[in-house]
Structures are given as C-alpha cells and as structure tokens.
C-alpha cells in the first residue's frame, strides 16, 4: 500500500510544482501589496487632510449662507410687515383725515354758502331798500317839482285870469295850501 502511495504522492507533488495552482491566487504579490499600501496611504492622507476639511468648509459656508439668507429673509419679511402695517395705518389715517377734511370742507362750504346767501340777501334787501328810498326820494322830488311847476303855472294862470286881483306871493301861498291839502287827501 505504502509502495503504491508514495510514488503517487511524489507524482502529485511534482505536478503541483510544475503546474500553477489556484491557491497561488490567494497569496498576495509583494509589489501589488506595496502598491496597494502606497496608493491607499496617499488616498487616506488626502481625504484626511484635505477632502474632509474642504467638504466641512463647504458645508459650513453653505450653512452660514443659508442661515444668513433665512435671517435676512426673516428680517426683510418683518420689515415688510412693519412697513405694510405702517402703510395700512397711514392709509387709515389718511382716509380718516380725508373724511374729516371732506366733512370740514362740506361744513365750511355750507357755512360759506349760508354766509354768502345771507350776505346776498342782506345786500339785495339793502339794494332794494336803497332803491326804494331813492325811488321815494325821486318821487318826492318829482312831486315837489310838479308842485312847483303847478304852483307856478297856477300863479301864472291866475294872474292872467285876475289880472292883478291878488299878488303873486299870496297866490303862491294859496296854491301851496291847496296842494298840501291835496297831498293830505291822497
């Protein structure tokens, strides 16, 4: 048995020595191992010293920018709301003021109108009164003038009729008396 087994084992060992085995793939090549260590060490160093700090800086800058923008937006919004409130209040005050101005204007206009009307009525009444007075005076003057003329005419007529029975002064007195009585009768 041993005599059969030993040559078979020797043959297998010789074949294994001659032909590459799959187990060789499990043994790392030294040059590949060194290359892998160097490559990974460089990547690790770059990631550790540069890439992660860079991405952290980027994230911090982004966070700061977003936070700043949000704060700015909130501030702007608050300002806008405040302005809107101010505008609304101002608008309300303006409307109220406009209403009061309009009311005041209406009242003033009403007062002015009343005043003007009163003044106009007074002026009209005054004019009417004055016109009446003037008309009365004119009438009186006309009546006096007529009286004078009638008196003169009467005297003249009487003188011609009586040819000197009474003097002119007496005759004028008679005529005046007559006219006065006539006026009283009117």
């Amino acid at each position: 048995m041993l005599q059969l087994l030993v040559p078979a084992l020797v043959l297998a060992a010789e074949e294994a020595a001659e032909e590459p085995s799959g187990i060789d793939l499990l043994i790392p090549e030294t040059s590949e191992l060194i290359a892998g260590i160097i490559a990974f060490a460089i990547i690790f160093f770059v990631v550790w010293k540069w890439a992660l700090p860079a991405i952290n800086r980027t994230l911090e800058a982004r966070q700061a920018a977003i936070t700043g923008q949000v704060a700015e937006a909130e501030k702007t919004k608050a300002e806008a709301e405040s302005l809107l409130e101010d505008y609304k209040q101002q608008l309300s005050e303006a409307r109220s003021k406009a209403d009061s101005i309009v009311d005041e204007a209406k009242a003033t206009a009403e007062a002015v109108r009343g005043d003007i009307v009163a003044k106009a009525e007074a002026h009209a009444a005054e004019i009417t009164q004055k016109a009446r007075a003037e008309a009365q005076a004119e009438k009186a003057r006309a009546a006096a003038s007529i009286r004078d003329e009638i008196s003169a005419l009467s005297v003249e007529i009487a003188q011609k009729a009586t040819a000197g029975a009474i003097d002119a002064t007496a005759h004028r007195a008679l005529v005046d008396q007559f006219l006065q009585e006539l006026g009283e009768m009117e």
């Binding site: 060789d24 040059s31 590949e32």
Partner: protein, 272 residues
C-alpha cells in the same frame, strides 16, 4: 482574456468545442512587468492600482476644489458619496464616535469602488481587487484598527467579554466564547478579504468566459457553420452579466466598508 483568445486561436473549433488556456491563473496574473525598480515589479496590476488612486484623487479634487454654496452636478455627486459614507456608514453604524473613522472608511470605499469598477471599465476589464493584495491589506488594516480600538476603549475586558460573554447562558459561555474568539480574531479579516476577492474573481471569470466564448463562437462561422449561433446567447448573457457586475462592484465596495464599520463599532461599543 488574452490567454483565452490565444487558446481559441490555437485549438480547432471544428473538432474541439471547448478550448482552454494552458493556465487559467494568467487571467489574473500579469507576470511580465512593464518595468522594475529593484525588486519592485511595475506590473499592469500595480499600474492599475496607482491609476485607481489617481482617479479617486481626481474625483475628490474636481468635486471639492471650490467652496460653492450651490454645488455643481459633479460636486453633488462627490458630496453625496462623502455624505453617504459619513452619515450612513460611519455615524450610522458606529454612532457619534464614527466621525473620527470617516477618513479611513471614505478612503476605503472610494478606493475599492474604483478598483472594483475596473472590472467593467472598457479597455481595462480587470478588477484589481481580484488580486489578493488589496483585500488582504485593507482587511488586516481593519482588523488592526478594531482590535486596537477594542483594547484602547475597554482594556483587557475587551477580550474577556469576547471569551466569556455574560449575555449568554452560563453553560454555553465557553462554547460561544471560543466561537467568538475565533470569529473575531481570525475569521473576520479572512472572510472580509475573501468575500471581496472571491466576488471579483467570479465576476471577472464569468464576464471573460461568456463574452470571449460568445465572440469566439460567432467569429468562427466559417469553420463551424450554423453552430456559431451558439455564441449569440452566450454573448447576450455576458452583456447582462456585465450590467450585473456593475451592481456587484458597487455592492462589494459598500459591503466591505460597512462590515469594517460594524467591526469597529463592535470594539467601540462591545456591549452591543
């Protein structure tokens, strides 16, 4: 992939439907260094590792170079990625103390994401996490961090709570303690690395086999006639898996980072 194409060219598709390369491992191994600096071979995988680093740095630089209140679309993408790791993974899993682990988790997530997405990047089509170096390195780093944090925060009680869990009935404590001890100090880093590695290996193999075999069948129409139509569903299925692998690439980066956070959290708050 080159090996598969070479193998397909060497075989006779009329006689041998299945052609395989001499060494499938060469789908993942690029043994010819572009140049060497002493013992350090600058292979295609090494070049892609540094390319992943450059892409991650460029991603961060162009997304974060200017402090903008209103970010650009690309800036939103970068900030979303950072916010996702910081809020959902670091602080979401570890708690308020998770802030100090954000650089580690973010660097890990971005590096793994780009490394995984190389699988579906036209012109590259090779996830550097399907090589064991990066998964092993990152899982060991996570292991060191959560063990150191555990001792720093809790002292020796950290190990004591693991091997003698008081929330477990006393009869089972020794058994659960052994399981937890093995799980925490041995299996966690191993499963963390192997999960990522195996997923990316499987994805890379599936894509390679489906797309290359589909293409080989379809391009051999002169040799195998109507049988070349077999390649069409393979190719279409490969394109479907291509989309699926985009999800897998993102998901595996997320899972690796999330589990790292969970392990750290278990050291920061062992009572949970």
């Amino acid at each position: 992939m080159e090996q598969l194409i070479l193998a397909s060219g060497a075989c006779d598709p009329a006689a041998d439907i299945i052609c395989k390369p001499e060494n499938v491992n060469e789908l993942f191994e690029f043994t010819h260094p572009l140049f060497s600096i002493g013992p350090f071979d600058f292979t295609r995988t090494v070049f892609l590792t540094f390319l992943a680093m450059v892409i991650v740095l460029a991603f961060l630089y162009f997304g974060l170079r200017k402090t903008r209140v209103v970010p650009s679309r690309f800036g939103v993408l970068v900030e979303s990625a950072v916010g996702f790791v910081r809020d959902d993974i670091a602080k979401g899993v570890i708690g308020p103390e998770g802030g100090r682990y954000v650089p580690y988790l973010l660097a890990m997530f971005l590096f793994l994401l780009v490394a995984n997405l190389f699988e579906v990047t036209p012109g590259i089509n090779f996830p550097i996490t399907s090589r064991m170096a990066i998964p092993v390195f990152l899982s060991l780093l996570t292991w060191v961090i959560f063990v150191v944090v555990g001792f720093f925060k809790n002292g020796f009680r950290y190990v004591l709570d693991i091997i003698w869990p008081k929330s477990v009935p006393i009869g089972l404590r020794w058994l659960v303690g052994i399981i937890e001890l093995v799980s925490t100090f041995l299996l966690r880093p191993l499963t963390l690395a192997v999960r990522l590695f195996a997923n990316m290996v499987a994805g890379h193999l599936m894509l390679t086999l489906l797309l290359v075999s589909g293409w080989v069948f379809m391009s051999s129409v002169g040799d195998i006639g109507a049988r070349s139509i077999i390649g069409l569903p393979w190719f279409v299925f490969g394109l479907g898996i291509y989309l699926f692998e985009i999800v897998v690439a993102v998901l595996q980066a997320y899972i690796f980072t999330l589990l790292s956070a969970v392990y750290i959290q278990s050291s920061v708050h062992p009572e949970h």
